[in-house]
């Protein structure tokens, strides 16, 4: 069971709700994925409107609603949005997204850290979206982030976990759950992240723009489970060398004749 801020999650697949062809398809895909953590861009919903399409579709399931601040350019905007979201929904969960560059949608490390510090003080459960910078991950944890969400590759690019080398370091050092978010384009990418030891993955574009989003959502659910099971089973070490103990320096063994 994955626990974030005291809440248990059976499913390690988190879903984003953007880019679907309709709220109805979105709802079906979420149901098929069995996701229990669902993010919604605050700029897409009208939390004050009880007839809002997205919120109505989502209200049919039992899940943790994770509003995200996508579109915010700096910490001040993100903080303001967060407070508005909480006032409307009553939930303190927040996916913090501060993405000043609308082309790459890469997260601003400085503004994200500043916003996290403030929002944690304000009592939010902050899940910051970040570039896969291990030092930043440590600082966000120190600031009280409930989890960290390093990107695999830029949002919507479907390129997979290009940042695997750094995500591995983040996972090794983390004291909070690590959710690989953004760029996961195929179920195999999700499995790869889970095999690495990620606690969960967040997928959006790969499902919403698939030919059959519902079937793709199911496939992702299976991949996340498979990856997690493999991780727990103890993966064998991948080795580029034929012999596992052949060090690159050319030494196969060391002379220990000096030992008395």
């Amino acid at each position: 069971m994955l626990t974030i801020a005291g809440t248990e999650f059976r499913s390690r697949l988190f879903l984003g709700t953007g880019k679907f062809s309709s709220s109805a398809v979105m709802a079906e895909a979420i149901a098929a994925s069995d996701a229990q953590m669902v993010t919604v861009a605050l700029r897409r919903v009208d939390l004050d409107n009880p007839d809002d399409d997205i919120m109505k579709a989502l209200s049919l399931r039992d899940y943790t609603f994770l509003p995200n601040t996508s579109g915010a350019r700096d910490s001040q905007e993100a903080i303001r949005l967060a407070h508005l979201a909480r006032a409307a929904s009553g939930s303190s969960w927040l996916k913090l997204e501060v993405t000043p560059d609308p082309r790459t949608l890469l997260p601003d490390p400085v503004e994200t850290l500043l916003a996290t510090e403030q929002l944690v003080k304000d009592g939010f459960i902050v899940l910051p979206y970040m570039n896969a910078d291990p030092i930043l991950a440590l600082k966000l944890q120190d600031a009280g982030a409930a989890a960290v969400m390093p990107l695999g590759s830029p949002i919507g690019t479907n390129q997979g976990v290009l940042t695997d080398f750094q995500v591995e370091i983040i996972i090794e050092q983390a004291k909070v759950p690590v959710v690989v978010d953004a760029g996961i384009g195929a179920p195999s990418h999700a499995a790869y992240a889970m095999e690495m030891g990620a606690d969960a993955v967040l997928v959006n574009t790969a499902i919403s723009v698939a030919g059959n989003p519902v079937a793709m959502a199911e496939a992702f659910a299976k991949a996340v489970e498979a990856g997690r099971a493999a991780y727990l089973a103890g993966m064998g070490q991948r080795s580029k060398q034929a012999s596992a103990s052949s060090p690159e320096s050319g030494q196969l063994s060391s002379d220990l004749g000096f030992l008395s």
């Binding site: 196969l252 063994s253 220990l256 000096f258 030992l259």
Partner: protein, 359 residues
């Protein structure tokens, strides 16, 4: 509990551990086990490879200065134990500065101030005063003294101390009780929590270790692995080192409870290097010349040299009142020559006092 995990390991577990890029604790257990002994040369090669990549062909040098051998603890194994009849001395600040001057002139830039536990002789005020005197003479001043509070460590950090070493001696709680007969050191938990206090105070480096010859060295090695893991998670910006004090003849003539051979010590060092590629591994002059020469480049990253383990010993020629007798008697110059002869660079300065100056 730790011992069971180790004894259950077999050759397959050792092979798996040797092939892994990132070792887990159960891999460390396998590498510490008897099943790993036939793999010692392979372990040495891996350890050498990792050490080379991470640290290069370098070895840091330092020397200890024993400030005082007064001690209020009775530890069965230690030459300074309160009930041992040895000549007791505590250096005055001037004498300590003199000793330090001798080491400075010999070429040392990193020193370790050591004392027994006796507040009347060495307390935080004394340490602060000596730190302030020495900080301008050396690149790094470390200490190995009685456990202190976070507040006191913070004062010492501000006074110029860079690193603190504090060894648990044994992670076996029951055995710990039987060898620590009286004094503040009897508090197992206070000592165990000390490295965390040191790191929390902002010290740049924390040294941990176990005294080899008390409990089963394999279990101690695994306990060190657990301790390192925990410390790194809590204090990600702190550097860590492990030392390997191995029982040598001492004034109290304590018979080691375990014989830890050089091969055992090497297995422990290699296993920890594979488990934690970044940890500093310190081999002091307790060990023989031949051993230290042979281990160069295979895992250790720091050596002491020209050591005297008695207060005021650098200014005199006798070794009265020493904590343990030294195995490698070579001077700094001789050890550096050996290091160079083996194609390594002896590093006498690897820090700077400017790191500690707070305005």
């Amino acid at each position: 509990m730790l011992s069971r995990e180790i004894s259950q390991a077999g050759p397959a577990d050792v092979e798996r551990a040797l092939g892994r890029k990132r070792l887990q604790l159960h891999d460390l257990a396998a590498l510490l086990s008897p099943a790993a002994e036939p793999f010692l040369q392979k372990m040495a090669a891996r350890s050498a490879d990792i050490t080379l990549k991470r640290f290069g062909r370098t070895t840091q040098l330092y020397a200890p200065i024993y400030l005082s051998n007064y001690c209020t603890n009775r530890c069965a194994y230690c030459g300074f134990s309160a009930d041992n009849l040895i000549k007791r001395k505590c250096l005055t600040l001037d004498e300590a500065e003199q000793e330090a001057g001798i080491l400075h002139d010999r070429g040392f830039q990193h020193i370790l101030l050591v004392s027994g536990e006796a507040e009347s002789a060495v307390d935080v005020d004394y340490m602060e005063a000596i730190a302030l005197r020495l900080r301008n003479k050396f690149a790094a001043v470390a200490i190995e003294i009685q456990p202190m509070s976070t507040e006191h460590y913070r004062r010492l950090f501000n006074a110029g101390i860079t690193a603190v070493a504090v060894y648990q001696e044994t992670y076996d709680r029951d055995l710990y009780k039987t060898v620590h007969l009286s004094g503040k050191k009897r508090d197992f938990d206070y000592r165990l929590e000390t490295p965390a206090r040191v790191a929390a105070a902002g010290m740049r480096e924390v040294g941990i270790g176990a005294l080899l010859g008390l409990a089963d060295w394999r279990a101690e090695g695994l306990a060190i692995g657990h301790h390192l893991n925990w410390l790194r998670r809590e204090f990600w910006s702190t550097a860590f080192t492990v030392s390997f004090p191995r029982m040598r003849p001492a004034a109290g003539e304590f018979e080691p409870l375990q014989i830890v051979s050089e091969a055992n010590l090497s297995q422990l060092i290699f296993a920890l290097r594979l488990f934690d590629p970044d940890v500093g591994l310190i081999v002091s002059t307790r060990e023989e010349e031949r051993y230290r020469d042979g281990m160069l480049g295979l895992g250790p990253t720091r050596y002491s040299a020209g050591s005297c383990t008695a207060p005021g010993g650098y200014g005199k020629s006798d070794h009265e009142g020493e904590q343990f007798s030294v195995g490698d008697h070579r001077s700094l110059d001789e050890v550096c020559a050996m290091i160079r002869a083996k194609g390594f660079d002896p590093v006498c300065k690897d820090w700077d006092r400017e790191f500690q100056i707070s305005n």
